[in-house]
Amino acid sequence: MTWQRRHVLATDDWSRAEIEQVLDQTGAMVEVLGRPIRRTPALRGRTVILFFAEASTRTRVSFELAAKALSADVTNITASGSSVEKGETLRDTVRTLTALGGDVIVMRHAASGAPYFVAERTDAAVINAGDGWHAHPTQGLLDAYTLRGALGDLDGRRIVIVGDITHSRVARSDIDALVPLGATVTLSGPPTLVPSAWRCGMTPRGTTYEPDLDRALDGADGVIALRLQKERQHAGLLPSIREYAKTWGLSEERVKRMRPEAPVLHPGPMNEGVEIAASVAHGARSLIETQVTNGVAVRMALLYLLAGTPEQVA
């Protein structure tokens, strides 16, 4: 199948075949990363601009390693010290980015939808590295790749996503990657942190809501715990972090409710002892470090599909 998409803004309208193509390409990139010299010339001569208007180290470094492994030139524009902090409008930043002549803009932004704004106004390919609460498609794809690696086919598998669903772009992108692959998703978390429409029966296709985490985990094939932002308590959405940890934290006892060897994922950075116990985070079921490695490979796959030259297949 020839790749058709110009941008990666969200996978909410992607077909199963498109997602599978990315995951298969990711497999090829994992192989590249396993070589003694972790580099291919697939993006030689291409420029990738990393535009991070919101602080992030992990995702930015992951993209940077991915772009460099493909021999692309990489330029960083980060929030601190850049004109973004001086009150430059996004419209102006896009003009600048376009004038700089990048082939791919990888962007993170605090405002949901900002990548659509940029994609409409530039000739470059845009990859969304996280926009507000909306989407983080490379995280969704790397989680799907990681789960597929652990479970084989995802058809008929049931994955639990627990935590602050409302404010989580990871949750939305996990749903948008896992459901098209045939998995079902059980959402769990405090009612104040799950969109009201999703609690009232209007959950996205392929998902259900189960506030009781124990019941959600019973017989599940895997779980993704989300990071809890501590400011949610100050906003009045939670009585206490302690109560949250007790009720929706992944303890060793709890994860045993899942099928034997059902994996545990977390997008990081973790609050150990809040949404996940340290023993679970570093235990036998944890794939959290594998996620980090796979993240580089998924980003390589997308950069290659969007901007690679066909004759230089990895």
Binding site: H109, A111, A114, F117, D131, W133, T166, R169, A197, W198
Partner: protein
Amino acid sequence: MSGLADLERDAAQHGWLVSPGFIDLHAHLREPGFEESETIATGARAALAGGFTTICAMPNTEPAIDSPGLVAEVIARGAAARAARVLPIAAITRGRLGKELADLVELAAAGAVAFSDDGAPVSDGQLFRNALEYARASGRPIFEHSQDLALTADGVMHEGVVSARLGLPGMAAAAEETAIARDLSLARLAGGRLHLSHVSTAGGVELVRRAKSDGLAITAEVTPHHLALTDEWVAGSRAFAWEDGGDRATPYETSTKVNPPLRTASDVRACWAGLMDGTIDAIATDHAPHASTRKDVEFQEAAFGISGFETAVPLLLAGVAAGWGTWDRVVEALTTGPARVLGITLPENDRVVIDPNAAWTCDAAALVSLGKNTPLLGRALIGRVVACAVDGELRFDLTRIAAS
């Protein structure tokens, strides 16, 4: 210059619709303070292009219209524009700050036709009660933007399945409903003339219906966009509430950001039902023009508002064509309905002439308003205002504009 009789004869020959000039209870003309978005003159001309021969100017300018001198200034500039008749609405509270009452009696004497802190609901219940009571002495209605600000906080669109999908903070229907419930209770207590601006929710319509059946003397309006568009438009849909499928635009278009937000198709249906059974008295545009700098930004940063004068007629005709309402009732809600809210008689020699079959493209060049911020931009629309007369004088003539 043709007289009214000529205008009506021409219209009859073409099969055009003729009606008394429309009255818009709710418009933002942005002057003084935001003249890059609209001026009283450009707004009054845009109003005529939309069929409105009388428009009520909201006081959320800079400075706010909260003194008799400013009221007089709006009247003077409106008259100088020689377009639509401009009636000033004055602020309820000084500076629209919600702290102390403006001089309502003096403002009314200077020509304010109503009072409103539109965009800034009066949160303090006691102050709002005082405003209703004191406004009785002025004989003018209070136009309230009913919204519980604590509930809407950072909200930028209707809270529901679409906001959940888009990851945007929502404004629950309950934020409008609880505020309307409070305002109705206070109107019952205080007396005075309460008019509810831009009711947008099924629950809000039902509260007004029940209050009216209890005999409370209140009135309410709905906007054309709340009678046609849904929250799916924020996600890129361009289907009217009565349509399925259709073209899609980019999601997060800031032209769909408006307060109260675009609601669901069932809310749209309820607004039409309220209009048809008389619960809703008037259709008002909430014309809210913005310079591109306020809209060419991230969705969460963008200003609220839709430029509404010039698309009202095609939106309403589309709703009528879909069978959700009747044209006769729409015309009432644009003429006698708002006149009753203001306590005025319909200006005898104002006319609007509409070609209900005219197809036109709503592009930036076609819009008279400086505000091009409408999600209908670039769309083919059916139905257009051909001419308007104010006090017997032909002040808008599309054929002449097209020729020049």
